[in-house]
Symmetry: C2
Subunit: 312 residues, 2 copies
């Protein structure tokens, strides 16, 4: 008979990771990170946010980074999510395929026992003609459902650089679609021929809704974008209108693509940064649907709490 496999010491360490007296939750993205010290009862007792996203941290310096976070937030076990688990992050965590539940995230967590840390995996979707990935939003989506902030069965939208629309079923992610809305807006604002005109702050005004209407009708983005330049040359269209119009155009297209997954009459859950969720809620409202807005931070903390409880 083969001998029983010896469990390496590292795994033993993981098995004894103890979240009972609290943890540090880190939402560690490409360009930003937010870290929260959480006590035994699940309450946030300290927080820290900065722009040290993964691309600003050289390979090999993650241990020093987390040591400095512990200096600020206490010597607690770490639970991290987001791009920190990507192939450009600290350690690559796998993607858990859809349908993905909190249990799947717990099973797929990448443990770093020497650092008293674990990285939550991303979620993937693969079908014959469509592939997708997320990292970080899964904690918010499943956390919001676990906390009862959104229904266990619903369509949830997470706006951002790479906006996500996820169909939740029994509290798990059944399928999702990523739309490069925020990144396209940043590209246009930073580098396009329209850049000098896109500096104005975006709010849900008439120009925004005009963009939403054109985008949600399925008008071709590349044609509508040049129309902005032409209107500024020929029409009475000013820079204060161009920025909300283009934002509305992109969000309108985004909403059109996402609502494909909606069932009749159900309210849409919009989770994330409150300024962005307000714009999306306005655009979704324009289609006649109602929304529930959820603060992404509360959803993230709820998700990490549920994972910490299961990882113990």
């Amino acid at each position: 008979l083969p001998k029983p496999v010896t469990i390496p010491a590292a795994w033993e360490l993981v098995r004894t990771m103890d979240f009972a007296s609290g943890w540090i939750a880190i939402d560690w993205g490409t360009t930003n990170r937010r870290a929260f010290a959480v006590d035994a009862g699940g309450q946030v007792i300290a927080r820290h946010a900065d722009h040290r996203g993964i691309t600003s941290i050289p390979a090999g310096e993650f241990p020093a980074e987390v040591a400095s976070l512990r200096d600020m937030l206490g010597d607690r076990p770490l639970l991290m999510a987001g791009m920190v688990g990507s192939n450009r992050g600290w350690v690559e965590a796998p993607y858990v395929p859809c349908p993905a539940r909190l249990d799947s995230l717990v099973r797929g967590a990448m443990r770093l026992p020497d650092h008293g840390a674990a990285i939550v995996p991303g979620v993937s979707y693969a079908a014959e003609d469509r592939f997708d990935v997320m990292r970080g939003e899964e904690v918010q989506l499943l956390g919001a459902a676990a906390e009862g902030l959104i229904p266990a069965d619903c369509l949830a939208c997470h706006p951002g650089t790479h906006a996500k629309w996820a169909r939740l079923s029994n509290g798990g992610i059944e399928t999702f679609l990523t739309i490069m809305t925020g990144e396209l807006f940043a590209l246009l604002k930073g580098h396009s021929i329209l850049a000098p005109q896109l500096g104005a702050r975006v709010s849900a005004d008439a120009a925004f809704f005009s963009g939403v209407d054109r985008g949600s009708r399925g008008n071709a983005l590349a044609a509508e974008l040049f129309g902005v330049r032409a209107r500024m040359l020929l029409d009475d269209f000013g820079p204060e209108q161009a920025s909300p119009f283009v934002s509305g155009l992109l969000i309108g297209q985004d909403v059109r693509s996402g609502l494909v997954f909606a069932r009749s009459d159900e309210p849409i859950a919009v989770i994330g940064d409150p300024q962005l969720t307000a714009l999306y809620a306005a655009a979704i409202g324009r289609t006649g649907r109602s929304c529930v807005e959820v603060d992404g931070e509360a959803a993230f903390l709820g998700g990490i709490k549920a994972i910490a409880e299961k990882l113990q």
Copy 2:
């Protein structure tokens, strides 16, 4: 009785601009320019091309620039088209509204008598819900029709940074639509999360046609673009496929938007840079339509020749 208005000396100079012994035609764009010395018979006898587009020329230095072109190409009158006539160029030439014919371009030409030069106006389109402008392509479109390179009644496509689709009627531009296809590709290639994967040369291969098919179905661009990243992470999609796929996606969307103006069964005229017209012809062919490809340089020279003859 009022005295007859005295024609200013400058206009007298213009009226006597003499193209009978040849001219220098300049297609002067944002980032590039091409200049051609043309003899009395309309034949090109010398040419020059460089990257001294209007954005690289400080205000006030256009006279020195054209003097240096004359040193290379001979002391002939100048006929210029393109962004040189924009509000960022040498002197702003007006837009001629649609329907625009060669005669309209001649009437709207901005004369610079002190410099023995004239700038061809751009063309504008304005309707209640759609505004558009072009500068430079109008010479190629109307020139191709004047030279008999394309039918006087047809749908013509001019691919590029800001691709144009123009409905020609009796040799004039009836309406047109600009699509920011080339600029979006450059933005994605230069600055997006996909940038490292978009270096491969684009040809009309299987990945290109796969992109064309998805783009011409009207799939949302921002969603398809993130799918490229997901396929590279999950699928067997390599960098050599990403670049033609994204190009195909953008061109497919472009063709879908442009063919709205097509009549049943007519062949589409594609005018411009031969490498680009070949890609567009392949994408248009994919929809079951036939194409006529016309070299943009021949079209430009034909248009300038027709304008020079009428300006005399």
